[in-house]
Each structure stands twice: as structure tokens, then as C-alpha cells.
């Protein structure tokens, strides 16, 4: 709560392109595309019938899709001012969540494939995948692991933001973790990859995650929790399947 007034700000980052009041009629689900899940570090998403891609740290392209032959047609390209965008994820039926180095940005995609900014949750410079559970954002902030993540001084936290009112996002919790990265939620459990292992939280109270388990055997960069299985990827090293108690099911190693 102490960050509340100091940290967040509402900044419209993108130009107000196609800002008319259009109603999204998409049936797309709230996760990252179609009815599958590409994890919290994804840079491609399906939303409102469009394919949306993130290129570099600031280029967002939208594509129209031909469902009969799979052809794509680049509709528009947008530049996020300030850059530093790392992840892209579908949210609700017509929105996109961008994890940036300075915050999380909620964009709306119109029926024309145009994008405009709805809100921006700012934080200190870190790298941050982001996921949403209903109207709560879970953002992991980490410092090193990769370049440009704010250096050693950057914050290492799980942030919980209430975005029920997109015009006034509120930070509800800030939990220190060891370089948290990818994260995923399944039912009332939130799983977070950290530099020292996999952590799980009970989020039945959305704004007050309670840590329920920690397993230092499982290092991961991203995680997908679905259908009773935890899919972990440790970039360049291994893919692991665990059960919901974090016990190993199988492993896919390079060279196999």
C-alpha cells in the first residue's frame, strides 16, 4: 500500500488510434491465444480474432487471419513509446497485457485491429512478465538474468495490482522473491519461477497471495499450469513436466 500513491501513474503511451467506442465481440479466451497457453513470456497472442506480435522492445504488429488457409495479413504496426516491452498476452475479450521494463500496459484492440492504450501500471525498472486472474494483475519484477533489467538495484518482487478500475490501478501487495520470472495461475494457485526455485501461492484471496510451497529443485524461466500439469521451461536447458505437488513427471533435455 505504501507504493500506492508514489508508483502508479496513468500515462497514455500510444497514440489514440481508432479511439471510437467500439464493442469487442470476440469469443477469445482470456489466456494467451486461441484455447491454448503460450506462457507468461510469450510475445505472440491471439485476441479479438487477430494475431498480435511483439518485435524488439517496442514494435507491435497486428495481423488479420484467414481461417480457411491460415494466411496472415499485416494490418497495422504500432510503436510503444519508451520501448522495453518484453511480453504480450491476451486479456479479457479485447485487451492485451504488455509487460514492459517500467510497468505493465493494458492495450485495447478494436474490431479493426487498431490498438490504443487503456492504462499503464508503472514500477521501478525491472523485467516483468505479467498475467491476469480476473481483474487482478500479477507481475514479477526481477533484476538480472538478462540484460537491461535494471541492474542489481532493480527490485525483485511479485506485485499484485487491482485493475478493476483501469483508470486507477491500485497496488495491493508486493512480495519479495528471488529474481522471479515466468508465472502461471491455475484455479486458486499461482506458480512463480524464481532464481532459487519454483514457488506457489494460494490466491483464493486475489490481493493477498499466501505462499504454500517452494521447491528448489525446479529452476524455470517460464511455466504453464494447465490441466493438472505444470509445464516448466528453463531456456536452453530443459523442459520439465511436474504434477501439482511439484513432483517430477518427466523431463525433456537437449540432445534427446
Amino acid at each position: 500500500m505504501k507504493y500506492r500513491t508514489g508508483i502508479f501513474s496513468l500515462v497514455i503511451l500510444l497514440g489514440l488510434i481508432g479511439c471510437g467506442a467500439e464493442d469487442g465481440d470476440s469469443t477469445a479466451s482470456g489466456n494467451s491465444g486461441g484455447n491454448g497457453d503460450g506462457g507468461s513470456t510469450a510475445r505472440f497472442a491471439i485476441q479479438n480474432g487477430f494475431l498480435v506480435t511483439l518485435e524488439g522492445g517496442n514494435q507491435i504488429h497486428t495481423y488479420e487471419l484467414d481461417s480457411t488457409n491460415g494466411a496472415t495479413r499485416n494490418l497495422a504496426s504500432f510503436t510503444v513509446r519508451g520501448g522495453g516491452v518484453e511480453t504480450l498476452r491476451a486479456y479479457e475479450s479485447d485487451k492485451l497485457l504488455l509487460g514492459t521494463q517500467t510497468g505493465s500496459l493494458v492495450l485495447r484492440i478494436t474490431d479493426n485491429g487498431d490498438l490504443y492504450s487503456m492504462t499503464n501500471v508503472s514500477h521501478a525498472r525491472s523485467c516483468d512478465p505479467v498475467i491476469a486472474v480476473e481483474q487482478t494483475l500479477y507481475i514479477t519484477l526481477r533484476n538480472s538474468r538478462a540484460l537491461n533489467c535494471g541492474g542489481r538495484d532493480a527490485t525483485n518482487h511479485l506485485h499484485v495490482w487491482d485493475i478493476a478500475n483501469l483508470r486507477a490501478p491500485a497496488l495491493r501487495a508486493s512480495i519479495p522473491l528471488d529474481q522471479p520470472y515466468g508465472l502461471s495461475a491455475l484455479d486458486d494457485t499461482l506458480y512463480v519461477c524464481t532464481a532459487s526455485g519454483l514457488v506457489s501461492f494460494d490466491i483464493s484471496n486475489r490481493w493477498a497471495p499466501q505462499q504454500t510451497a517452494f521447491d528448489d529443485r525446479w529452476l524455470c524461466d517460464d511455466i504453464i499450469a494447465r490441466d493438472g500439469i505444470l509445464y516448466l521451461t528453463r531456456f536452453e536447458e530443459a523442459i520439465r513436466l511436474l504434477d501439482l505437488d511439484m513432483e517430477p513427471l518427466s523431463i525433456l533435455l537437449p540432445g534427446e
Binding site: G36, D37, A42, Y63, A71, G83, L241, D243, L252, P254
Partner: protein
């Protein structure tokens, strides 16, 4: 004091010209960094710098700094009367020479060199006002300072320039000592995708995942996509491997998988994959929608090469080539910034 002010406005209005100098030098420094970061490296100007890159940049601009210092110091010691007024024109001439370097083959404009010149000029200007003799004293008392400065910068300048010459001799004069870029052509990238069914394919660089139903897609970074059937999670079975050059990201909608392939967007009909009715019509490419990274990106620690200066300055004018790394003059191969000789099948020097 009043008369001095009138005599030489730039030299004698210490406060206002000091501010002007500080402003100009900050501006140039900022412009230099901004140019390097955003134009050349495509990253955010606010992003923290890799220390190796920074060191390299500073070292690369050091000759410009010491050369400016040398010329201005010599002028100060040889002809103190006109020296202060000469700072600006001399700096401008040096900046002009710097800009002319763009015309040389294998050379390129370095924004930080300009910053270095301005920095040296500011240093001389500051030293100048600190050591300025009082009006009553003889002007010659200041010259020993400048002789020392000239001497030091001469040594520094020669050392730095020698390093440059050595660098040019190793690569520019002897092709065998040059690192070479590793690239693939667009034609190779766009070669027909032939699925490899069964469990023979090898996962090299696990990357991102995509999960749907009881299938798990695993990106083999820059190489392709493995699709595993995880219906039995204790025994995932590789259904198929799709070689998609340059893939890092994917998503799926309906029957189609969408992935990047260096500069192209590829869509693949998953029904055809699963029903083994795959043909060339199962793949659609939208050409040239992504920008592939500049080759500098592959050089860890510097934009030349990982060790020493054996890399010719690179020009990325051949739009048909996708640079994926380099091979050092010793034969080691660095792909995507990491040492690995076994990552790709399509490499060639």
C-alpha cells in the same frame, strides 16, 4: 576585467561561456550516446549499458579525444595569444574530419567520437581559464602547463592510434585474420518445411512452450518446433518436429500455428500435420514482416568481436542475407552470441 570582457567575448565571460560549453558538451555527449544506442543498437536510450560495450565504446573514441587534446595543447603552448579563440574552429575542423571518415571504405561514423572531441575541447577550455595569467602577469607563465599537456596527450594519442593501426593490420591487411560472419540466405530460410515424424529429431535449445489439449509445443530456438503428445505426462512422445528456421515465438488459433521465421511470418495447418497430409500448401508465409537484428547483436561484449579486433567493420547492405553469428579467425563459431558449433545445420561461413 571589463576591458577583457570586451576584448574576447568567448574567452572572457567565464560564467556564460562556461554554461554554453557545458550545455553544448552535454548535448553532444547525449547525442553521441543516443545515436549509438537507438540508431545503431536499437535499444532504449534509458536501458543500462553492458559494461563491456561501454568500455569498448570509450576505448574506440579515445584516439579522437587525445588527438583533440594534442592539437589544442600544442596550439596553447606555441601561440597562447590566439589559442582560446582557436578552440572552437579547431574542434569544428576535427569534427568535420570525423564526419569525412564515413566516406572511407570499411569505416563508419561514430557518434561518440564527436562527443570525445567536444569533451577534449571543454577540458582545454577549462584548463585554460584555470591557468589563465592575471592581466598583470606575463602570459608566458602559463605555457609550461600546456607543454606538459601536449606531451602527455602526444604519448596517449600515439599509444591509442598504434592500437588502431595494429587492429587494422591484423584484419584489414590480412584476410585470414578476419572473423567472418555466418549467415543464411532468405532462400534457405524459405526452403520447404518437411515435417519429421517420430522420435528421431533432437531438441537442441529449449525455448518457449505452447500448450493446448494434450499437446505441448516446444520451441527449439532458431531451429524449429517439436510437438509432444503429453497425454501420458510421464512419457511425453514426440509427434513431429517442424524445422522452422529462425523460430522463437509461436501461437495457435484454430487449426493454424503461427510462428516467426526470421523475417517472415509462417502459418502451418496443424490438421495436415496431424493427419500426415502435409504438403507445400500446408504452409503459408507472409514475407518480410519482421526485422532481423543487426549483426552487431551477435558480438558479445563489443560490436566488433568477442576478442580482439579481428572483425571487419560490418555493413548489412545485403538484404538477402540473415546474419546469425560469426566465425572467429581461429575457427570458433559463435551463433546468436553464444559459442556453439552444433546449433544449426544450415551454417556456412
Amino acid at each position: 576585467m571589463i576591458s577583457r570582457l570586451r576584448g574576447s567575448p568567448l574567452a572572457s565571460a567565464p560564467l556564460s561561456s562556461g554554461i554554453l560549453w557545458a550545455f553544448l558538451s552535454s548535448l553532444t555527449l547525449f547525442a553521441g550516446f543516443w545515436f549509438e544506442l537507438t540508431i545503431r543498437h536499437g535499444s532504449s536510450p534509458l536501458a543500462p549499458l553492458d559494461t563491456h560495450v561501454l568500455t569498448h565504446w570509450l576505448w574506440a573514441s579515445f584516439p579522437s579525444f587525445s588527438l583533440t587534446l594534442l592539437v589544442l595543447s600544442l596550439w596553447q603552448s606555441l601561440h597562447p595569444a590566439t589559442a582560446t579563440r582557436a578552440i572552437v574552429p579547431v574542434s569544428l575542423v576535427l569534427i568535420g574530419l570525423e564526419a569525412l571518415q564515413t566516406l572511407l571504405p570499411d569505416a563508419r561514423f561514430d557518434g561518440l567520437d564527436l562527443a570525445a572531441i567536444v569533451l577534449a575541447a571543454v577540458l582545454v577550455r577549462t584548463l585554460n581559464s584555470l591557468t589563465r595569467p592575471a592581466p598583470s602577469r606575463a602570459p608566458s607563465t602559463a605555457t609550461p602547463v600546456w607543454k606538459t599537456a601536449a606531451g602527455i596527450s602526444l604519448v596517449l594519442g600515439i599509444t591509442a592510434q598504434m592500437a588502431c593501426y595494429e587492429y587494422e593490420e591484423t584484419c584489414f591487411d590480412d584476410e585470414d585474420k578476419c572473423d567472418t560472419l555466418v549467415f543464411v540466405t532468405k532462400e534457405e530460410v524459405r526452403a520447404e518445411i518437411v515435417p519429421e515424424y517420430g522420435n528421431n529429431a533432437i531438441l537442441r535449445i529449449p525455448g518457449k512452450m505452447y500448450q493446448r489439449d494434450h499437446y505441448l509445443g516446444v520451441v527449439d530456438k532458431h531451429r524449429g518446433l517439436h510437438i509432444f503428445d503429453t497425454a501420458d505426462p510421464q512419457n511425453p512422445l514426440r509427434v513431429v518436429y517442424l524445422p522452422i528456421h529462425g523460430i522463437t515465438d509461436l501461437t495457435i488459433k484454430g487449426d493454424f500455428l503461427y510462428a516467426n521465421s526470421y523475417m517472415d511470418m509462417v502459418s502451418i495447418n496443424l490438421n495436415d500435420v496431424h493427419q500426415s497430409t502435409f504438403s507445400s500448401t500446408s504452409v503459408t508465409r507472409e514475407l518480410d514482416v519482421f526485422t532481423w537484428q543487426a549483426p552487431e547483436r551477435f558480438f558479445q561484449g563489443s560490436y566488433l568481436s568477442s576478442e580482439g579486433n579481428h572483425q571487419k567493420r560490418l555493413t548489412n547492405e545485403d538484404t538477402d542475407k540473415i546474419y546469425i553469428g560469426y566465425q572467429s579467425h581461429k575457427g570458433e563459431r559463435f551463433l546468436y552470441g553464444r559459442q556453439d558449433s552444433d546449433v544449426l545445420t544450415e551454417t556456412k561461413p
